[in-house]
């Protein structure tokens, strides 16, 4: 067919969001469509921007801890973890043994919470009517109950302190966690039976939103998304922060880097997390949970003045590399406080992934990137 025979068509400009069922919050995609095919996509964000960094620069170091909960409100424990690491690096605080184990247990439980709900939400974006989400939430609920019992709150945990954790685990919680961890693979089997072999899911996800290895690396993609593209980079392995070098676990790697790989990597990571949890629960020692030197800190956060300097603490949060960059000037408030939010950086490639696909795919790709607007718009 020659060009003269082709009819002139106009592109249709659609704003997906900020109020849209599946933009995972107040996120907007400015999409140009040719028929149903995406020819241009511009992400627009900032609707949930609350200048987290400036708030943190005006309050004490400990005062920012509850604010970090609100970044990625799905996994506040790993946000706490990253921030605590950064401050401990800055002030050179040691963390007692038991607290390290509790931290790892909590971080891995958070990973389960996040991955299980994200896979559920991804299915919602695909058009399943809430069933996978609710199965996922059934499991998530148990873990949130554990968080409530230990930290006092289900989602805004505010549990980590510089030099340990806030309180010791209450009696009986370890057994509860053991039971959850024992039951979890059963649930995963059921979940996988419902989803991974499903032809419709495979058709919708395979070869959609392919992120090649080179782009993933140069665009600073981290987390399950990078690993689905074959980038072997897991900060738990690379930095060996906390006590991750004591545990045996593997890092699943995808080859294609499409939506299906991202989905599967998350499921495989959950199995690895269960494995880490099993080891940690077996080895957890008795002892103090807060470094006695910094225990007084809780009583007077304003007196906590880390020496002048700077530090960058990062963890492998369920969404990728979550880092806190702190510059201290020796006063009780940080001079500069910056969050390296994984889902914000992972959004860089959204347009590259979506071009040439249909509108329906854009929603799925966004779901597979796994953003939380609290973190994107910090």
């Amino acid at each position: 067919m020659t060009d003269s025979l082709l009819q002139e068509t106009e592109t249709l400009e659609v704003n997906l969001g900020p109020q849209h069922p599946s933009t995972h919050g107040v996120f907007r995609m400015n999409v140009k469509l040719d028929g149903e095919t995406i020819v241009s996509l511009k992400p627009v964000m900032g609707y949930l921007h609350r200048n987290h960094e400036q708030i943190a620069e005006n309050i004490s170091y400990l005062g920012s801890m509850p604010y970090t909960d609100r970044l990625d409100y799905f996994n506040s424990m790993s946000n706490n973890f990253a921030y605590a690491l950064a401050v401990e690096k800055l002030a050179k605080i040691e963390v007692p043994e038991r607290a390290q184990y509790i931290r790892v247990i909590m971080a891995e439980l958070t990973r389960l919470v996040n991955h299980v709900s994200v896979t559920g939400f991804l299915l919602n974006d695909l058009g399943a009517f809430f069933t996978p989400v609710l199965y996922a939430f059934r499991e998530r609920e148990k873990i949130l109950d554990v968080f409530e019992e230990t930290a006092g709150s289900r989602m805004m945990c505010n549990y980590f302190r510089f030099g340990g954790v806030k309180l010791d685990l209450p009696p009986g919680v370890l057994d509860r966690i053991r039971k959850i961890v024992k039951e979890f693979p059963k649930f995963l089997d059921e979940f996988e039976g419902l989803l991974t072999q499903n032809e419709i899911l495979c058709m919708r996800c395979q070869k959609v939103g392919v992120l090649p290895f080179d782009l993933a690396l140069s665009a600073s993609i981290t987390g399950p998304m990078a690993r689905a593209s074959g980038v072997n980079y897991d900060i738990r392995k690379v930095d060996n922060y906390s006590i991750y070098n004591r545990f045996k676990f593997k890092v699943p790697l995808g080859k294609t880097g499409d939506v299906y790989d991202r989905f599967m990597i998350r499921i495989l990571e959950m199995r690895q997390s269960v494995y880490i949890l099993e080891q940690a629960l077996k080895e957890i020692p008795e002892g103090p949970v807060l470094n006695p030197k910094t225990a007084a800190l809780a009583k007077a956060p304003r007196n906590f003045k880390p020496p002048a300097g700077e530090s960058y603490g990062r963890v492998e949060s369920p969404k990728g590399e979550l880092g806190f960059y702190l510059v201290s000037d020796g006063t009780p408030q940080p001079w500069r406080y910056h969050v390296r939010a994984p889902s914000f950086v992972n959004l860089t490639v959204l347009e590259d992934l979506c071009l040439g696909h249909k509108v329906a795919d854009a929603v799925v790709i966004l779901g597979s990137i796994d953003i939380v607007l609290g973190e994107v718009d910090h």
Binding site: P21, L126, D234
Partner: protein, 383 residues
């Protein structure tokens, strides 16, 4: 028991004829049927919403509506009151007349098709000799209503939904009709009543679905029917996660309720027609005929809702691909198989040849549609 409703109507007409002239009794007879359908239609819709909510919530380990009335049975009424009292919002730039007409237009065909569905022995409102054709033709007009609504809303999401809907309905109409042709071939009639009567053997269990071609046609017809009703996994016109609510994004209050009503009545009638064509309609041993019909229909409705509780949605191009690249060729082959079935003399030969043909063609079609077949993946683990 079997002719409970028939006798009721007859008794009523007898009573009327005692003081009315014969012409009026004719009109009264028609009126009784119309009123029965006009009650049945919305009533079905109301309780299908309840049924769906309850069923899906059970699938999701929830309880579902249980506050209004026992088991939440009054929930549909409460919803109705809520819908009626809600503000009716019409977008500023909308074509107000068409915007108003669209939901009305969509309900009319949905109600009309009730007239040819045989609910029980002698219980079809009209026994048209082109009943099946009437059903297909009338239900296809829903497309126009959907397009009217989507166009008049002046909303991009609505427009996308409307376009998708037209494409989808046009595509699925073809395999749907073609898959029903073997049944008509076997019956020699387009009348829904005679189709049911043709399945009356074996104590009312000689359903067309028990033949190889019947089974294939049943599955394809049913899936196309699901697509016709815009239900999961073919609900792209209203694909909630993508285009908000598709063609009824800009509808609220009672107009929205009318869209829903049409959708649920379509669910019921499509299930009823599938039962009529392939599952022997009201035929069945022991129980009264209308009990059989409603049992079969609700079983099919159950499956539709079960789909909704389980499956994600297909994409537009995959949906079209499925219709044109798989369903259409397969129905044509099935038509050929059905022809062979009636041509071949012995029972063993019939079954063997048709099964072999269907299996071979199924395999061939899967092979041809290779890009759509999912691949199995293995994952590496790094230390």
């Amino acid at each position: 028991m079997d002719s409970l409703f028939v006798n009721l109507k007859k008794g009523l007409l007898d009573f009327l004829s005692s003081f009315l002239p014969a012409d009026f009794v004719m009109i009264a007879s028609a009126l009784v049927s119309i009123i029965a359908i006009a009650i049945l239609g919305p009533f079905t819709m109301m309780y299908l919403t309840w049924f769906e909510r309850k069923l899906i919530s059970r699938i999701q380990n929830r309880i579902g509506p249980n506050r209004v009335g026992i088991f939440g049975l009054l929930q549909p009424l409460a919803d109705g009151v809520k819908m009626l009292t809600k503000e009716d919002i019409v977008p500023d730039g909308a074509d107000k007349v068409v915007h108003f007409l669209a939901p009305v237009v969509t309900v009319i065909p949905a109600l009309l098709v009730f007239s040819v569905v045989p609910f029980g022995r002698n219980m079809a409102a009209v026994d048209l000799n082109v009943g099946f054709l009437f059903f297909i033709a009338v239900s296809a007009t829903t497309t126009i209503a959907i397009f009217m609504g989507s166009w008049a809303s002046r909303n991009k999401f609505s427009l996308l939904g409307g376009m998708r809907s037209v494409a989808q309905l046009v595509s699925y109409e073809v395999p749907m009709v073609l898959s029903a042709v073997p049944v008509i071939l076997a019956t020699g009639s387009l009348s829904t009543v005679s189709i049911v009567e043709a399945q009356s053997g074996w104590h009312g269990l000689k359903w067309f679905v028990f033949t190889p071609w019947g089974l294939v046609a049943f599955v394809i017809f049913y899936l196309c029917g699901v697509a016709e009703c815009n239900r999961t996994p073919f609900d792209i016109p209203e694909g909630e996660s993508e285009i908000v609510a598709g063609f009824h994004t800009e509808y609220s209050g009672m107009k929205f309720a009318l869209w829903y009503m049409a959708e649920f009545m379509n669910v019921f009638t499509i299930s009823g027609l599938t039962a009529t064509l392939f599952l022997g309609g009201y035929q069945g041993p022991f129980l009264p005929s209308w009990v059989w019909f409603f049992t079969k229909t609700y079983a099919l409705v159950f499956v539709m809702m079960w789909f909704r509780g389980t499956l994600p949605r297909l994409r537009v191009d995959q949906l079209m691909g499925l219709a044109w690249k798989f369903f259409l060729p397969f129905t044509l082959i099935n038509l050929f198989v059905a022809g062979l079935w009636f041509f071949l003399p012995t029972r063993g030969l019939r079954v063997g040849v048709s099964l072999a043909l269907l299996a071979v063609s199924f395999g061939f079609l899967v092979w041809v549609n290779k890009p759509f077949v999912p691949e199995k993946r293995m994952y590496e683990f790094a230390e």
